[in-house]
Structure formats: structure tokens, C-alpha cells
Amino acid sequence: MTYSTFEIWLIIAILGVGTFLIRFSFLGLIGDRPMPPIVLKLLRFTPVAVLPGMVAPLVLWPAATGGVPDPARMIAAIVTVAVGIRTRSAIWGIGAGIGTLYLALWVFAIR
């Protein structure tokens, strides 16, 4: 790394302010003014529109295996989703997913 101290702090400061402005943007500017129904309808899908896309590449091509699909990780992902849907609880999903991951990694390791 060859940046000067000033440059490093400049990067940190701009990232800090920029990230805050991204997060504050709509919440800060719109406040309690009403939004059009079509926008509200679109926004209700935000969580299910962002997270699956964020996770899918990590599940199919994990960085830890150099991008090679890994059965242990894939099984853990499927169990997490199944338990999450079935129990309607994130906590049970996390527990089942992590348990399955370690169990599957162990099983595939001794095989």
C-alpha cells in the first residue's frame, strides 16, 4: 500500500460520509410525505429482492473452495431455507444451517 496518511484518511472520511448519505437518503428526505402506491408496492419486496441475489453466488461458488461448488455448503443452505420457511423463525434457520454445515463438512472430510 503506497497511499499517504492524508489519502487514507480521505478515503475513510468520504466512505463514511458517502455510506451515511446512502442510508439516510430516502428516509431523511421524504420523511412522512406520502409515497405513490406503486412505489410502496415495489418497496415491500426489498428484502426478498436483495438478499437472495446477494447470497446465491456465495452458495453456488464459495470463495473458500476457490469457486468450486461444495456439497456441504449447498446442503447447509438448503436446510437453512427449509427450516426458516417451516418454522418462520430466523433463529431456528441459523441454528439448523450452522449445525448442518459443520456436520456435512465433517462427513465429507472423513469420507
Binding site: I22, R23, F24, T46, G53, I94
Partner: protein
């Protein structure tokens, strides 16, 4: 749940948030430690690494920025890449407006500072499940979710800087994040429209995985939102 008395709600909403945010300690502890290790290895001072964690407070973007700084990328590229990774949070910000828009400006600013994947998803799931929550309760709940995660995120970064040794690969830390996110989102798949949105999100994101810094994800998220809204409209029409 029983309807609570007049004065208790805000406080109990806060503690419900603390409870629901606690599982994320599992994620915050190893990743904050890892960031401390990576940042120190990259050559950042203690103050700079802590500055990153406290001011930016966004795991993926912090790692992306430090990674590019290690490669001596131009400053503009470092900034663009890391901010692009965070752009999805503009969608989070917009989707919180119907729930928190009526809160005082300083509270909205505080929520904005703490608005990251875990706090956002957990809170929105609660707001959707309980439409009767007051704005004050919603803010309290959000701050409650952030309470167990945020201080640990700061402290464990410092621990990582001090200890400075990598975490064993056998812990498969890379996969704790996907599991957490999958577990958070699956209970929200409560209609055909939600399932369709999630499917489109995955397919488009996988197809565009080669695009830099999460731009593929933004396109995927946009396409998924439109899909969800269209399917929902279609189902409503068929019922009518």
C-alpha cells in the same frame, strides 16, 4: 402476544429488538475480528482501521475497500467500488420510509447510521408482522436490534488488530454470512409474489455475477421488485 399496557410498549419494543438482534453476535464477532486482522496486514494504523469500522460500519464495503487499497488501486476506484457495494442500502432506506418516515429527523439519522443488512431485515420483518406498532416502538425496536451487534463490531475489530492472527479455515467462516442471510429472508417468503421475487433475484444475480462491485445485484434487485409487484397485482386481479 397480549396487548400491553400504555406505558410499557417502547421499552419492551427495545428489548424485543435486543433479543432478536442477539443471534447476529455469532456473525459480528468473527467478521469484525477478521477485519481487524486484514486491515492491520494491509498496513493501516490502529486509528485508521478503527476509523473504517466506526465511520463506515458496513462489513462488505470495508473489506472491499481494504482489498482494493492493498492492490494500490486509484482512490476514485476504491471509493466507487466500496460505495457501489453499499448502494443496496438506498433501497433499504426507501423501504423504511412508510414505517419510520414520521419519526423526528435525529432519530431517522440515527437509524440511518445503523441501517445495515441485519438491522434492516430483522426490523422490517417485525414491522410487517405487526402493523399496529407505533413509530416510536419501531424506532426503539430498530435501536434494540443494533444494540448487541454494533458495540461488538467495534470492540472485536480492535481485538483483531491487537491479536492479528487469522481465524482457522476449518471454521468455514465464509459461509456463516450466507446462512444468516438465508435464515433471515426465508421466513419472509410468505406469498407466491415473494417467492417469485426471490427467484428472479437469484437468477439475475447469478447471470450478472461478472459485473463489478455489486452492480449485478442492484439490477437483480430491481428486476425482482418489479416481478414481485407484477405477480401480486396479477393475483389480486384474479381474486377480484
Amino acid at each position: 402476544m397480549t396487548t400491553s399496557t400504555v406505558k410499557a410498549p417502547a421499552k419492551s419494543a427495545y428489548w424485543a429488538g435486543v433479543r432478536d438482534g442477539s443471534p447476529f453476535i455469532l456473525m459480528a464477532v468473527p467478521f469484525a475480528t477478521l477485519f481487524g486482522v486484514v486491515a492491520t496486514d494491509a498496513g493501516l494504523t490502529v486509528a485508521q482501521a478503527m476509523g473504517f469500522t466506526v465511520l463506515v460500519i458496513a462489513g462488505a464495503a470495508q473489506f472491499a475497500a481494504v482489498q482494493m487499497m492493498m492492490e494500490d488501486a486509484g482512490i476514485a476506484f476504491v471509493l466507487l467500488a466500496a460505495l457501489a457495494v453499499n448502494l443496496r442500502m438506498a433501497m433499504y432506506s426507501a423501504s423504511l420510509v412508510p414505517y419510520l418516515g414520521a419519526a423526528p429527523l435525529w432519530k431517522r439519522a440515527l437509524v440511518a447510521y445503523l441501517n445495515f443488512d441485519q438491522t434492516y431485515i430483522t426490523s422490517v420483518a417485525r414491522y410487517e408482522a405487526r402493523p399496529e406498532m407505533s413509530v416510536q416502538d419501531r424506532v426503539s425496536y430498530f435501536l434494540g436490534v443494533a444494540t448487541p451487534i454494533t458495540p461488538l463490531w467495534f470492540i472485536m475489530t480492535l481485538v483483531g488488530i491487537m491479536v492479528g492472527s487469522a481465524i482457522p479455515e476449518a471454521w468455514a467462516l465464509d459461509f456463516i454470512v450466507p446462512i444468516m442471510f438465508l435464515a433471515m429472508v426465508s421466513p419472509m417468503l410468505k406469498s407466491l409474489a415473494h417467492v417469485a421475487a426471490a427467484a428472479v433475484s437469484m437468477i439475475v444475480a447469478l447471470a450478472l455475477v461478472g459485473l463489478p462491485s455489486g452492480t449485478g445485484l442492484l439490477i437483480a434487485a430491481g428486476a425482482a421488485m418489479v416481478t414481485g409487484a407484477l405477480v401480486e397485482t396479477w393475483i389480486e386481479r384474479r381474486k377480484a
